[in-house]
């Protein structure tokens, strides 16, 4: 879906500082990339295509402008994969507590 409707929950993007305008104290790898910003909110325009400049109303009620980059953006976070390095720790510790482990 690349077209958003008025009131959709969307994400906008802006370059805040382009390369060459970064603060003098940042290390080279940071100075070599722009400072970027993303904010989410409700689309103000009747319709808008991803990639176009739009206005949103944020949860704090502010009107903010930027390039539309995502419609109903994913939160991304999850619990990842079960970690074999962690899975046996509980059993090992119980065994030590119960006197069957290697102290």
């Amino acid at each position: 879906m690349s077209q958003a409707q008025k009131g959709d929950w969307v994400q906008i993007y802006q370059v805040i500082l382009p390369v060459g305008e970064r603060a003098p104290q940042v290390p080279a790898e940071t100075a070599g990339v722009p400072l970027e910003m993303w904010v989410k909110g409700f689309l103000e325009e009747e319709q808008a295509q991803v990639g176009t400049d739009v206005t949103i109303r944020s949860l704090a009620g502010r009107l903010l402008q930027g390039q539309l980059v995502a419609i109903k953006p994913d939160y991304e976070v999850n619990y990842g994969f079960p970690q074999p390095e962690l899975l046996t720790i509980g059993v090992e510790l119980r065994a030590i507590l119960e006197g069957n482990g290697n102290v």
């Binding site: 305008e21 910003m37 949860l59 976070v77 390095e85």
Partner: protein
């Protein structure tokens, strides 16, 4: 409309911050670098009774103090005869937003409301964002949180993404940025454009809000054990947690309680590096904040930081990322408490310290924090592996920050490393003298430096001379 270029906004910093905090910091300054910290705390911050009332209004504080009986038993198995202090933990995850940060946010948001501000702004990638958003929701203020979240590939640190989600859940506008200290520019711009209150982590309001954590620990420990805590271990990053907790303990008469600061060792990783950013599996409670804020506290987003950890820490220890993940698992599996992981930094240190203390002594771990998707050992380790970090069981001495996370094979392998506080004090003095150069100091400057470093005035004078001679 005023000039919004980087240089112009940074140049307007003093007036923007003054309007957004409403504190006349200059009134507490004297000499070249001197600053009457105690007078600022007594005149600007609220009284303990008032703080209790403010926090009661929004359900903050009065969290349970839990005895970790199984972890204590495990520590005693590893310890020598007669050793193994009782380990208690203050379950700060029970606060409205899931961490002790609700204490700091509660007073700031109350103050902002009292003084007619319509909203609050905070620059934080940590639990403080959700705390501000939650307290602002309760008191009917708007909130805006500015976070450092992504590297230049647009990849977000899972723990910070979760904290951003939590902020939105409480109704905050979340501004997500890529890596870099220029986040502060965006923060100033937001303060200027909105006229909202600067809910900084480092104002007297924020720090005084933590004092109740110290007084509650004193009261609950006495009730549970009949004695004052022998040691309290505090996860240390920006210094507020150490400062506020220690001040509260002192207020409650725990002058002889040892205050131990604990940080995850992230030595070698640059905090402003686009590459190092996602090679960290802990986004707070680490030495990347802990050391600079101990040696140069006034690097904060207010002219004078109310968090001054070097005044309060009796000991500063580090542990590794893998050890904290292991102990996070220990807390869930042995005590039935799924918490952290960053908050368990202090528990990891306490587990080791308890083994060297007497059986009848009491050690208190001063916080837990909520856990959730992203903010949990399994997503953090999944993310670390995806970013090329080696994760394996082994001896934690093989840990290399940003390269290898070593999960202990046995609880006896967990260890703490002491940071030499004399060296930290020396760095502090060098930094403090940075703006003075070889210029003469006034008596009030020496008095200030003595209070900051807990050294005799004569020793401070000698050290200052030595530093200035080498400039």
């Amino acid at each position: 409309m005023s000039n919004t270029s980087y240089q112009a906004v940074i140049a307007r910093k003093p007036e923007i911050i003054k309007k957004a905090t409403n504190i006349d910091y200059a009134a507490f300054e004297s000499g070249e670098i001197g600053f009457d910290y105690e007078r600022m705390m007594s005149q600007v911050a609220y009284s303990l009774n008032k703080i209790r009332q403010i926090q009661q209004e929004t359900g903050v504080g009065n969290t349970p103090l839990l005895e970790l009986k199984n972890i204590t038993a495990l520590a005693r198995q590893l310890a020598g005869p007669g050793k193994g202090a009782r380990i208690f933990i203050k379950d700060e995850a029970c606060n409205p937003s899931g961490s002790f940060k609700a204490r700091r946010a509660s007073v700031s948001v109350y103050h902002a409301k009292q003084h007619g501000y319509k909203g609050v702004v905070a620059a934080t990638s940590g639990n403080f964002g959700a705390a501000i958003a939650s307290q602002a929701a309760m008191r009917g203020l708007k909130s805006i949180i500015v976070q450092e979240v992504f590297d230049s590939r647009g990849i977000g640190q899972p723990e910070i993404l979760e904290k951003g989600r939590a902020c939105e859940a409480y109704g905050a506008e979340v501004i997500q940025m890529t890596v870099g200290p220029e986040l502060f520019y965006q923060f100033l711009l937001v303060l200027e454009q909105t006229g909202y209150f600067n809910a900084s982590l480092y104002t007297p309001f924020s720090i005084c809000g933590i004092e109740t954590l110290g007084t509650e620990i004193a009261e609950q420990t006495l009730l549970a054990t009949g004695r004052k805590p022998d040691a309290v271990v505090v996860t240390h990053a920006g210094g507020g947690n150490v400062t506020g907790t220690a001040r509260g303990l002192q207020r409650a008469g725990c002058e002889s309680t040892q205050i131990v600061a604990a940080s995850v060792d992230l030595k070698g990783l640059h905090m402003a590096s686009d590459i190092d950013f996602n090679r960290k599996s802990f986004t707070t409670g680490h030495t990347g904040f802990g050391m600079p804020f101990a040696t140069s506290p006034d690097r904060a987003d207010v002219p004078r930081n109310a968090a001054r950890p070097l005044r309060y820490m009796d000991r500063y220890v580090t542990i590794t990322q893998g050890e904290v993940f292991y102990v996070t698992e220990m807390l869930a599996m042995l005590e039935g408490l799924e918490r952290g992981p960053a908050g368990n930094t202090s528990l990891t240190a306490a587990f080791v310290m308890a083994q060297h203390m007497e059986c009848d002594e009491v050690i208190v771990v001063q916080e837990t924090e909520y856990t959730g998707a992203g903010k949990h050992p399994s997503p953090q380790l999944s993310f670390a592996k995806k970013n090329g970090i080696e994760v394996r069981r082994g001896n934690p001495i093989e840990n290399v920050p940003g390269k290898a996370i070593i999960i202990p094979e046995h609880p006896g392998q967990i260890n703490i490393k002491d940071i030499n506080l004399d060296r930290v004090r020396q760095s502090y003095l060098r930094n403090a003298l940075g703006s003075v150069g070889t210029g003469a100091l006034h008596p009030q400057d020496i008095e200030f430096l003595a209070a900051e470093t807990r050294l005799e005035a004569a020793i401070v004078e000698k050290k200052v001379r030595e530093i200035q001679e080498n400039l």
